[in-house]
């Protein structure tokens, strides 16, 4: 089932092109949006979340057009959004904050609203922190609270802008488990810099660069791009696109085969780096 369809989406800030004729369809499951800073990920997510109107193109969420004022409210009923900087009120308790967002999501009946607040607190494992003020929560807990507000009302589309940034490994694991559960029956679209997140969570990955979609496929297909182009050698190579020394003391190279190097199994990161290298080269050539 297609939840979101985007056609020819464009957005620019003055002379800077943030989105350049983006075409995309997103279905149930977890889709990762990967790309470097300034690739247009956040702009795309903000347009989908109705926080920003695009300059060109169309968006359909569940068949509804957010550009039409009358349909926009209905689109918002179907969306849960966690922005990169959610700005959660520091002096609110976790419970108060969710109660407030629940009112914004049209839950006017107090009993129903409280039940929903309890449900999402439980879902993000913050039930015992309900009375803690936001400013006293750890970074990971604050991020989970941000996710909880996005889940209020059980939206069919959950949009998460870099949800795992700044989290320690334990919190990241917890977050991944949460997102993975969400993706079982909802459409989850998350942006990230982390190829590990994509490998661990996403059934599908969309890579953006310079406001354009440069790859759309499975994480495995992204890794396959680097098939036959990843090498391990004992000496540093010369003239290749990218290389680094790994924990075993070998040089991992992406590009042409260095002298005496052996082929290595490509990872998602290898594919991503190779793809971005090509995208940047194409961008410069344009």
């Amino acid at each position: 089932m297609t939840t979101v369809t985007v056609q020819g989406l464009g957005k620019h800030y003055g002379a800077t092109v943030a989105l350049d004729a983006v075409d995309l369809t997103i279905e149930v499951g977890v889709t990762g949006l990967l790309g470097p800073n300034g690739a247009g990920k956040s702009t795309l997510l903000r347009c989908l979340a109705t926080a920003m109107a695009p300059d060109d193109g169309t968006i359909r969420v569940g068949g509804l057009d957010p550009a039409v004022a009358a349909q926009r409210t209905e689109v918002r009923r179907r969306i849960g959004y966690l922005p990169q900087n959610p700005g959660l009120y520091p002096n609110f308790t976790a419970y108060d904050l969710l109660d407030y967002v629940a009112v914004l999501k049209e839950m006017t009946d107090s009993r129903r609203r409280k039940a929903e607040v309890r449900r999402v607190l439980d879902e993000v494992e913050l039930t015992d922190r309900a009375r803690t003020k936001v400013r006293k929560l750890s970074g990971g807990m604050r991020q989970r609270l941000g996710l909880a507000q996005a889940l209020l009302g059980d939206p069919e589309l959950v949009i998460l802008d870099e949800p795992t940034v700044g989290l320690d490994p334990e919190q990241r694991m917890l977050f991944r488990a949460l997102i993975s559960r969400l993706g079982e029956r909802r459409t989850v679209l998350l942006s990230t810099h982390q190829t590990e997140d994509v490998g661990a969570l996403c059934e599908r990955v969309v890579v953006m660069s310079g406001g354009r979609v440069v790859f759309d496929g499975s994480p495995r297909e992204l890794a396959v791009i680097a098939e036959g182009q990843v090498w391990l050698s004992e000496r540093p190579p010369v003239g290749n696109a990218a290389y680094w020394r790994n924990a075993d003391g070998f040089y991992r190279t992406i590009g042409r085969q260095p002298d005496g190097a052996e082929a290595a199994r490509p990872s998602i990161e290898d594919g991503y780096l190779l793809l971005l290298g090509n995208a940047v080269t194409t961008e410069v050539a344009r």
Partner: protein, 277 residues
């Protein structure tokens, strides 16, 4: 935890059917607290138990009902509407206390300055309309509201939320400034003369906010008012007061405010953050 002796089936049945005397109920319940085996024999209504725990959880964690909320509830304001207003940046205690402090200082200065008390009253009259406009600028959207990006993508976002918040902050600011105006020296009409200019600046700010952001709109109109006041400083203060707050000026403020309100109603959908400005 369990004990060496247990409730007999007859006693359990009497307890379940409510046939026991209060003293025996207390004894049975004291035993049940200490004995998991006997507790397991008492059938529990799981749905009722879950509801009870939920109610207890909500009672502990839900925000308490404040005296102001009780007062507003009596005046007919629904509970969920109060929740929306509590998050209005310009209704936070820090903002309210700062405003109250400035007004108290103005009153104190006028009361204790001896000569020139009328001058302070007139200066207040000219500055007072800015107060509600400042409050409106902190009612909605960036940069006043750090959660604006979440707020703006919820179904409640849009004209209704902006107007509810604006009306509430204007109400509070006008109430505080009216109290200060009554306490200040000067003719009795001073206490009300600033209200129509304030109304015009507020409706004008909201109407202009359908084109630019709310803080920008407030800054533009507030700035125009201050510029007008400063431009008139060269002339006699009495003349300024007469020209800016006389009957003709008041009628002009009223008509302009009505015009701004009409523009606001016609363009209200532009308050949606999803639309380009």
């Amino acid at each position: 935890m369990t004990t060496d002796w247990h409730l007999d089936p007859g006693l359990i049945e009497q307890y379940e059917t409510g046939a026991l005397e209060p003293s025996r109920i207390m004894a049975v319940e004291a035993h049940l607290l200490a004995c998991a085996d006997c507790r397991a024999l008492i059938p529990a209504d799981d749905a009722w138990l879950a509801d009870s725990w939920s109610a207890v959880y909500d009672d502990i964690h839900a925000p308490p009902v404040s005296p102001i909320q009780r007062l507003l509830a009596r005046a007919g304001l629904p509970e969920h509407r109060f929740r929306l207003l509590t998050a209005t940046p310009a209704l936070r205690w820090s903002w309210l206390l700062a405003t109250a402090a400035v007004l108290m200082l103005a009153v104190a200065a006028a009361r204790f300055s001896g000569d020139g008390t009328l001058l302070i009253g007139q200066a207040f009259l000219m500055a007072a309309p800015i107060l509600p406009v400042t409050a409106v600028s902190g009612a909605y959207g960036p940069p006043a509201d750090p959660m604006h990006e979440i707020t703006g993508t919820t179904p409640a976002a849009g004209p209704a939320l902006v107007l509810w918040r604006a009306v509430s902050v204007i109400g509070v600011a006008v109430l505080m400034a009216t109290v200060a105006a009554v306490l200040l020296p000067g003719p009795g009409w001073y206490a009300a003369a600033w209200l129509l200019p304030a109304l015009l600046l507020c409706t004008g700010t909201l109407a202009l906010a359908t084109v630019v952001s709310l803080p920008t709109a407030a800054a533009v109109l507030g700035g125009l008012w201050v510029t007008g006041v400063l431009a008139a400083v060269g002339t006699s203060q009495e003349q300024v007061v007469a020209s800016m707050f006389g009957p003709t000026a008041q009628l002009a403020y009223l008509l302009s405010a009505a015009l701004a309100a009409a523009v606001l109603i016609l363009r209200r959908r532009r308050f949606d953050l999803g639309e380009s400005r």
